[in-house]
Subunit: 264 residues, 2 copies
DNA sequence: AAATAGAGTTCCAAATAATAGAACAGAATA
DNA sequence: TATTCTGTTCTATTATTTGGAACTCTATTT
């Protein structure tokens, strides 16, 4: 009797799955393991219902429950994600170019894609020091305070950027973090330049240059970036790298066009 | 009218979620993107039903569909998994000990947990060379051909091992890969020794030593291993490392007992 | 030690979502 | 143009999920 197949945000209804994913998100985004009652307080479901939903998630390995009855996210996710990552076409195509860019600059190179209003990091190449890689891969950051995020926005149609920015909550991470107005202004600048800087907007002492990568129909929008400590990456240095990073982005874009071109 | 809440394997029914997870598994385990018809052939659902299920998975970001209508696993999984990994208590507790073991041996150190009949790798520490880390983390390997797997089995009650082995399909990866009989025999040996070797049983040219780690009630069963190329890791060398690796495992076990001890 | 409160689990009729099958549409092929 | 193959939409039927209450177990209070 009700009606709509879409909710107010234009997302289509995903029925039972949608409700379970909300729970999975709640537990996964929590600071630590949650007790049944904690989750109950955040979900507007009756106890019996919530109990069954959590049981199903646990049974499937998406959540785990410890000896104290506290829920945390399950390792099944790791298995699924590692396969997803290993086979990701964008990442596979970009890999050699990222490696080359890392060799050229000696600094950390990231590959990211736009998903909703966040950038999700798909890959990372660091220099000499054996660093924890997983620490970044899979992480998400807001679009408005990362080089890749701003670069990605710069190639979207203005109305899409406006809609996206309108729904955004701007958290001020540093003194340089954008607000809606300054962000929109800078996007215009980036459109002309073809590359974006992150001037310690997310983390004090960290700067980066980024260039956008996109597929023909915008089904994939992302970017590459070179990141490093501000003392080493002066703005002059970053500006010098703008050209090579745009070139890398261009090469990846071209490789994807070919890679995806022949319809099998 | 039917009846059972459990299926033949003792797994409880997870309703709609279970059906969707089967699909997610099918797509995730495939070699490449799958077309609708490919999935239809593997699932015993009617077309209309399958179509809606896939739509829901795509809408939630668990699957993605490309311009050619081919399905592959979605990046939402990466985000969820990276959080799951970052907060994993076992991994956090084990980290310093793994690092120390890596320093001591100079070879690759793995942390794994038993999940069903597979070992899922939770962490990895390599030496000097900046190697792709994600390449192993989240990967799963059969219990019967990994050091960590055999070590883990050795601390399970015999009847659980027997049940697990009975359900296993033994794929012969190398000339040294175990069969059910040789595996059960070796498990007995490992019980006495306290450590397990992988004598090129999974991959030719790769050897390892592993020791089990487990929580009091066996809610967590896993192990640490030191892995490397056979030319460098002679059996003598591996035997020398058996004691330190057992000690590392013991330290992690103790740290977990304390870490999990005080019930908050 | 008994009583009480808190947390989690189980149960079942009612509400809702998923299903099966057929009809429909679009693209590729003959 | 006709035909087949692939994917999408629709609807009555069926199955699952829901919500609320009753129940169990454990910790806390009197």
């Amino acid at each position: 009797m009700s009606a709509a197949k879409e909710n107010e945000l234009g997302r289509r209804d995903t029925g039972t799955l949608g409700k379970l994913m909300v729970l999975l998100d709640v537990v996964t985004h929590a600071d630590g393991p949650m007790r049944f009652t904690d989750i109950l307080a955040l979900s507007d479901q009756p106890r019996g219902t919530l109990h069954r939903q959590l049981s199903h998630l646990v049974e499937e390995g998406l959540l785990e429950i410890d000896a104290d009855g506290r829920y945390s996210s399950g390792l099944r996710l790791l298995d699924l994600a590692s396969r997803s990552w290993a086979r990701n076409e964008f990442r596979l195509i970009a890999e050699p170019h990222l490696r080359a860019l890392q060799d050229l600059t000696g600094e950390t190179v990231h590959l990211g894609v736009l998903r909703g209003s966040s950038i999700i990091y798909l890959d990372k190449f660091e220099g000499q020091q054996p660093v924890r890689m997983y620490s970044q891969i899979g992480n998400t950051s807001p679009v408005y305070c990362t080089g890749v995020g701003k670069a990605a926005l710069s190639i979207l149609p203005r109305e899409r950027v406006a809609a996206l920015v309108a729904d955004l909550a701007f958290h001020q991470f540093t003194a340089n973090t954008h607000t809606a107005d300054t962000l929109l202004a800078e996007i215009e600048e980036i459109r002309k330049q073809g590359h974006a800087f992150d001037r310690e907007e997310h983390e004090v002492g960290i700067r980066c240059v980024a260039a956008p990568i996109w597929s023909e129909n915008l089904s994939l929008v992302g970017g590459v970036s070179v990141t490093g400590p501000a003392y080493r990456l002066t703005m002059e240095r970053l500006s010098e790298w703008a050209a090579p990073i745009r070139k890398t982005a261009e090469q990846i874009r071209e490789a994807m066009r070919i890679g995806l071109g022949p319809r099998r």
